[in-house]
């Protein structure tokens, strides 16, 4: 077991390094000199001076080495767009993404699990079909389009949602930052107006993401439940007179829980970096927007910082999933040892 874990960890670190290196190369190969991004015209001598100041005149290998050395000291480099250390930018952006991803995941799970259970228990019935239609529909919609439609209906026409302009209203009193999650922090500070403001702003983007992400959770629930319900011990329990509902909710669902938790975890991990389009539509200041803007502004250090964080999360996530499954099933352990 330990050998398995160490092996996976080692390979994960190799992947991480590979990702960082690949990002470094790709961003530096992107067309356009980052110095020319801001504020237009610069005379050649200014460009040279700025290149020197930013260390861009060194060969790529030297720049990469400097970057790695910086990383070892916890220095993620400087963002040219914001002027801040990238670590600071990430610190401000990550909670926004975590909040949105967390809210969407919870929402998706709350809806998907009951639907999945219903789907499995009442297989091929109206519920099942309804759930599957909802599922397929959710995955087929362009997520940015869905966000726009929701904004049009709930904000523009019905006026019940707040303006899609970020996490909170312009003059809301921001609570003291403990977790970085505005909803949690304002609750902890007892600041209810800010809490409802922040929560209100979470709802539309949360629903948009949840609708899309709900599908795999529903499918896993259904598949796991079906498999569990088909087991002989279920039939035995029924024959013994145990009420079906208890069987479903306790035994079958209980056995599916590991899968559900892992899916929820994977969904959450995906949402952190993958919510770019929704962040754009709702002006949500999260990681996805940060990556997008940095990419389009040739802000190398920022892009690398983003990739580093997201890749680490992904890899951690995958590692946990793989280890969980190996712990549960020794066959996977031995099968995987010979491969990746």
């Amino acid at each position: 077991m330990l050998q398995f874990f160490l092996r996976r960890l080692g390979l994960s670190i190799v992947s991480l390094f590979g990702a960082v290196l690949a990002t470094f190369v790709i961003t530096h190969l992107l067309p356009g000199n980052p110095i020319l991004v801001h504020a237009g015209f610069k005379i050649p001598s200014t460009i040279k001076f700025l290149e020197q100041q930013m260390g861009l005149d060194q060969p790529l290998a030297v720049q990469f080495q400097r970057y790695l050395v910086g990383l070892a000291h916890g220095d993620f480099g400087q963002s040219w767009y914001s002027g801040n250390p990238v670590a600071l930018d990430l610190q401000q952006r990550l909670p926004a993404s975590l909040e949105l991803a967390g809210f969407s995941t919870i929402l998706a799970v709350l809806v998907a699990i009951p639907l999945g259970i219903l789907s499995a228990v009442k297989r091929d019935s109206l519920w099942d079909h309804l759930a599957r239609v909802l599922g397929v529909g959710g995955v087929s919609m362009p997520v940015f389009w869905l966000g726009l439609v929701l904004i049009f209906v709930f904000y523009y026409t019905l006026h019940i949602a707040p303006a899609p302009l970020g996490r909170v209203g312009t003059f809301a009193e921001l609570p003291h930052q403990i977790t970085g999650l505005l909803t949690v922090d304002s609750l902890l500070a007892g600041n209810l107006p800010t809490f409802s403001d922040a929560f209100g702003h979470l709802i539309l983007p949360g629903i948009t993401l949840a609708l899309v992400v709900m599908v795999p959770v529903m499918r896993i629930t259904r598949a796991s439940m079906l498999e569990a319900l088909g087991q002989p011990y279920i039939r035995t329990a029924r024959a013994a007179g145990i009420p079906y509902r208890k069987i479903v909710l306790v035994d079958a669902l209980g056995n599916s829980l590991v899968n559900l938790l892992t899916v929820a975890g994977l969904v959450f991990g995906y949402l952190i970096g993958g919510a770019v389009l929704v962040e754009k539509v709702f002006s949500w200041p999260g990681m996805g927007q940060y990556a997008l803007n940095s990419l389009l502004e040739n802000d190398y250090a920022a892009v690398q910082g983003f990739i580093l964080v997201v890749t680490t999360l992904y890899i951690l996530n995958n590692l946990i999933v793989d280890v969980l499954y190996a712990a549960v099933d020794p066959r996977i352990r031995s099968a995987s040892l010979g491969t990746s």
Binding site: L11, V14, S15, L16, G18, A19, A22, T23, I26, T27, L29, L30, P31, H129, R132, V133, V136, G137, V139, S140, M141, P142, V143, F144, W145, L148, V149, I151, F152, Y156, A223, Y270, G273, G274, V276, L277, K280, V281, G288, A291, L292, L295, L296, V303, I307, V310, T311, Y314, I315, T339, S340
Partner: protein, 294 residues
């Protein structure tokens, strides 16, 4: 005297006919499959015959800008006075073409590398899987975005960008199956009689992974339409005046607030219908090839 039992002549159906019988049966059973097939047929029909049936130049500007849907402009007009229906009809072709090329690219390249990694093992497998792992560590959309930004805004580059982003998925899938086939009886027998490895990979291993590959390819088709739209929404991708459904939705977003809902909503619905048809047919394919997943 021995009695001869006269049984009615029963013609044994050939193996191929039996499978198609099963396919038809599976389709008849599932409402969603029927709906999906009909929808897909409709989408393809519109893609092929649409522009000819509605012969309006999608790039023709006019002064009748942002007109609401009417008889002469069923989908209204955009801020340049262009007929949105005409742009949508032409856009369907482009999006489907992109999706097909992306799926083809990712499937072919992914399958080749996947079978190579799965069957050959050793350092080949390690090399391929490490690269795959790195690529899969990136959020997929960001990867496609970076590649598209790097290559420049052109349909060909969008296909390359998205295709490259999908390839590692297929590599992983095929490798997994090739791995399990490596020690199958018929493979070992063929090796024993001296069949060369490339022969084994191409004609024995690959054909047996076609089922899961096919399922994944249908998924690629659906994802590709969404991701093309997404890239265009951000502004990386198709150059004007090429009509692309995602960029139309993006431009329309700005006009939705002032009441011109048709500009963003209608192309978005069309995207959804296309993706829906791919998804439903894909689900049907999966159900046929792997009934256990039902």
């Amino acid at each position: 005297m021995a009695t001869r039992v006269i049984a009615p002549e029963r013609k044994e159906p050939s193996r191929r006919r039996r499978r198609s019988d099963y396919v038809l049966y599976a389709i008849r059973r599932s409402v969603s499959a029927q709906f999906g097939l009909v929808l897909l047929a409709a989408v393809l029909l519109v893609a092929v015959a649409g522009p000819a049936a509605w012969p309006v130049d999608p790039a023709a500007t006019s002064s009748n800008t942002l007109a609401a849907p009417s008889l002469s402009l069923p989908f209204g007009s955009d801020q340049y006075g262009r007929d949105i229906l005409s742009r949508v009809l032409n856009g369907i072709r482009i999006d489907i073409a992109i999706a097909v090329f992306v799926a083809a690219l990712a499937t072919v390249v992914g399958a080749l590398f996947g079978v190579l990694a799965g069957y050959m093992g050793g350092w080949v497998e390690q090399a391929v899987m490490r690269v795959t792992d790195v690529m899969l560590a990136f959020p997929g959309f960001i990867l496609a975005l970076a590649i598209a930004a790097f290559l420049g805004n052109d349909i060909r580059n969008v296909i390359l960008a998205i295709g490259i982003a999908y390839t590692p998925v297929m590599i992983r899938l095929v490798r997994g199956h090739a791995l399990s086939l490596r020690n199958a009886q018929f493979i070992l027998s063929s090796r024993a009689i001296g069949a060369p490895r490339w022969w084994m990979m191409l004609f024995h291993v690959l054909p047996n992974t076609v089922s899961p590959m096919l399922v994944q390819t249908t998924l690629f088709l659906a994802w590709a339409v969404l991701d093309t739209a997404g890239l265009s929404f951000i502004g990386v991708g198709i150059r004007p005046p090429t009509p692309e459904l995602g960029s139309m939705t993006a431009e329309g977003a700005a006009y939705m607030v002032s009441g011109a809902w048709w500009y963003a909503v209608l192309p978005g619905i069309v995207i959804m219908l296309i993706v829906l048809s791919f998804n439903l047919v894909g689900d049907a394919v999966r159900d046929i090839l792997d009934p256990q997943s039902r």
